[in-house]
C-alpha cells in the first residue's frame, strides 16, 4: 500500500467551477430544456460508465477473513509487552505509571519483591472492553515495555474481555529468533534520536 495519493493536500489542483446555465422561467424555455435533455442521450452515458466498470472487472473487494489489508506500524490495537534484546527478560519494571495514567481505568497491576530483591509484576491485566486504545500507557512507559500491536481481531462474547500479562508478552521462542518488532507509534523513540542528544547545559 502506498499512501502518496492521500498525501497531496493541495485541493486546488484540477478543481474547476462547473458552468451551470440559468434555469428557464417561461414555458417555452422549459419545453426546450426537456427536448434538449431527451435527445442529448445523457442516460446512456451513465449506462456506459457502469458497463465499462463491469467489463474492466477491476474489483476492489477485500475478501476479509481470507485476505487482510496491511495496517500501519503505528496502528494502536491490542497491547504487547516487549522483552529486552540483551537478556530476553521482560522490560516491565512494575513502576505502575500505565495504571496511573490510564484514563479509562482499564489497567490493573500488582507487584512484589522477588527472591532476587527485584520488583516484578505479579498480576497485570487490561480490560479490553474498557480500553479506548488511546496509547497513553505506551507513551508514558519509561522502558518501552507496554506498546500497542497490530492484533485488531478482539471480538469477544462479553463486554469484559481481559488480556493478561503472559498473553501480551513476546513469546520466548519468538524472542530467541530475533523476531520481536519494536513499536513505531505512540511513545516510541523517534528515529535518529542518538544524533539529537545534547549535553546538559550546566552553565546557569
Amino acid at each position: 500500500m502506498n499512501n502518496e495519493q492521500f498525501n497531496n493536500r493541495n485541493v486546488t489542483d484540477g478543481y474547476y467551477l462547473v458552468d451551470i446555465e440559468d434555469y428557464p422561467t417561461d414555458g417555452w424555455g422549459k419545453f426546450k430544456r426537456v427536448v434538449k435533455r431527451t435527445f442529448r442521450v445523457e442516460l446512456f452515458v451513465g449506462l456506459w460508465v457502469v458497463l465499462r466498470e463491469m467489463i474492466k472487472f477491476d474489483i476492489h473487494t477485500v475478501s476479509y477473513p481470507a485476505e487482510k489489508m496491511p495496517i500501519g506500524p503505528r496502528y494502536r490495537a491490542v497491547h504487547e509487552m516487549k522483552r529486552l534484546w540483551e537478556s530476553d527478560t521482560e522490560r516491565c519494571i512494575g513502576c505502575g505509571l500505565c495504571e496511573k495514567i490510564c484514563i479509562s481505568n482499564c489497567i490493573r497491576m500488582d507487584t512484589k519483591i522477588d527472591e532476587n530483591s527485584r520488583k516484578v509484576v505479579s498480576e497485570y491485566s487490561i480490560n479490553l472492553g474498557r480500553c479506548i486504545f488511546c496509547g497513553y500507557c505506551a507513551e508514558v512507559c519509561p522502558e518501552l515495555a507496554i506498546t500497542h500491536g497490530g492484533e485488531y481481531e478482539n471480538a469477544s462474547e462479553q463486554r469484559e474481555h481481559f488480556i493478561m500479562f503472559e498473553d501480551m508478552l513476546t513469546p520466548i521462542d519468538k524472542m530467541k529468533d530475533g523476531k520481536q518488532l519494536e513499536f513505531e507509534g505512540f511513545g516510541a523513540i523517534t528515529p535518529h534520536e542518538d544524533e539529537r542528544v545534547k549535553k546538559t547545559p550546566l552553565a546557569y
Binding site: V34, L43, G46, L47, V49, V50, L51, E53, M54, F57, D58, I59, H60, T61, S63
Partner: protein, 329 residues
C-alpha cells in the same frame, strides 16, 4: 374436453410455476452479482461456488422465519395481499408463448398455457390487477410508510396502464390481433419485419412503462428504500414478504418475454435458433432492468406523473393517430 389436453395443460402450469419460481431466486442472484460487478464489488461469494447457493440459503431463511402479523393490521387483507401479487404475476404467464412449438417423443407441445385470442388484453388486465397487492398490503399494514407506498402504487400503476395500453394500440392496429402468437407470426419474416422498425415510438413508450409496471429503478418509488423503507413490504416478514419478492421478479421475467414478442420478432420462424434468439432477447431485457438499477437515479413521484401524463400519453396518442392515418391511406 380431451383428457390429454387437460394433462398437458396441468403439466405446463406446473412447469411454468416451478421454472419461474426458481428463476425468481436465480434472478436475485444475478441482480446482486451484476450490481456488485458494476460497483466494483464481488457480490455473494461465500455460500457455495461463487455464492451460487446464496439463493438456497435465502430461501431457507425466508421459509423458516416467523410469520409475524403485527398489531393493528387488518389481518385478513394483510395476509392475502402478497398472494395477490404473486398470483397475478404467474396468471399473466398463461398467455405468453415462451418457446415455439416443438415435438417431444412424437407429441407436439405448444409452450403456451392458453392461446386465447385476447392474449395482450389479458396480460395487461392481469398486470393491472397486480396493483391490488401493494395497494391492499400497504393500506392494511397500519404503517405510514406502507400507506404512502400504497398511494404511490395506485397512482403509478393506474397512470402507466394508460401508457402501456395506448402504446401497444398502434402495433395491435397493424397486426389486427391481440394474440401474442399472431404478433410473432406477423414478424416471422426476419429482422426486417420486426414491429420496432415501423413503431419505434411505441416500443420505447412500452419499454418505459414496463419499468413503471414492474416498479424497477428509475421508477422504484413504490418501495423506495431510502425514503419509505420498503414501502408496502415494511411490515411483512418471512415468506409473505418473499411472495412479494417472487411476484416482482416473475413480473420482470414475463415483461422481458412480452417486449421481444411484441416488438422484436419473438421466436421468429419457430426454429431452434429462433427459440434461442427469444431467450437471448429476454436475457437482454432482464439484464437491462439490473443495468439501469446500477446506473440511473430514482425520480420523484411528481416527476413520474409529469412524465406519464404530459409526455408519454400525448406521444402515445399522436403515435396511434399517425399510425391510423398511414394505414388508412
Amino acid at each position: 374436453m380431451d383428457t390429454a389436453y387437460l394433462i398437458e395443460t396441468v403439466i405446463k402450469i406446473v412447469v411454468i410455476l416451478l421454472v419461474f419460481s426458481a428463476l425468481a431466486g436465480i434472478g436475485t442472484y444475478f441482480e446482486r452479482k451484476v450490481l456488485a460487478f458494476m460497483q466494483r464489488r464481488l457480490g455473494p461469494m461465500n455460500v457455495g461456488p461463487y455464492g451460487l447457493l446464496q439463493v438456497a440459503a435465502d430461501g431457507i431463511k425466508l421459509f423458516t422465519k416467523e410469520d409475524i402479523i403485527p398489531a393493528n393490521v387488518v389481518t385478513r387483507i394483510f395476509k392475502i395481499a402478497p398472494v395477490i401479487t404473486a398470483a397475478t404475476a404467474f396468471l399473466a404467464a398463461a398467455a405468453i408463448p415462451f418457446l415455439p412449438q416443438f415435438t417431444l417423443f412424437g407429441y407436439t407441445v405448444h409452450p403456451i398455457v392458453a392461446d386465447v385470442n385476447i392474449g395482450i388484453l389479458y396480460i395487461l388486465g392481469i398486470m393491472g390487477v397486480g396493483l391490488y397487492g401493494p395497494l391492499l398490503g400497504g393500506m392494511a399494514s397500519a404503517n405510514k410508510f406502507a400507506l404512502l407506498s400504497a398511494a404511490r402504487a395506485a397512482a403509478v400503476f393506474i397512470s402507466y396502464e394508460v401508457v402501456t395500453g395506448l402504446s401497444i394500440l398502434a402495433p395491435i392496429m397493424m397486426v389486427g390481433s391481440l394474440s401474442l402468437i399472431d404478433f410473432n407470426n406477423y414478424q416471422a419474416g426476419g429482422i426486417g419485419d420486426w414491429i420496432i422498425w415501423s413503431q419505434p415510438v411505441a416500443f420505447i413508450l412500452f419499454w418505459i412503462a414496463a419499468f413503471a409496471e414492474t416498479g424497477r429503478t428509475p421508477f422504484h418509488l413504490i418501495a423506495n428504500d431510502h425514503e419509505i423503507i420498503d414501502g408496502f413490504g415494511t411490515e411483512y416478514s418471512g415468506m409473505r414478504w418473499g411472495l412479494f419478492f417472487i411476484g416482482e421478479y416473475a413480473n420482470m421475467f414475463f415483461i422481458s418475454f412480452v417486449i421481444p414478442l411484441l416488438f422484436l420478432g419473438g421466436y421468429g420462424d419457430g426454429s431452434f435458433l429462433g427459440a434461442l434468439a427469444l431467450l437471448g432477447k429476454m436475457a437482454f431485457f432482464f439484464f437491462f432492468f439490473l443495468w439501469t438499477r446500477a446506473a440511473w437515479p430514482d425520480i420523484r413521484p411528481d416527476q413520474l406523473m409529469w412524465l406519464c401524463w404530459k409526455v408519454l400519453m400525448p406521444l402515445a396518442v399522436i403515435n396511434v393517430v399517425i399510425t391510423g392515418f398511414v394505414m388508412m391511406f
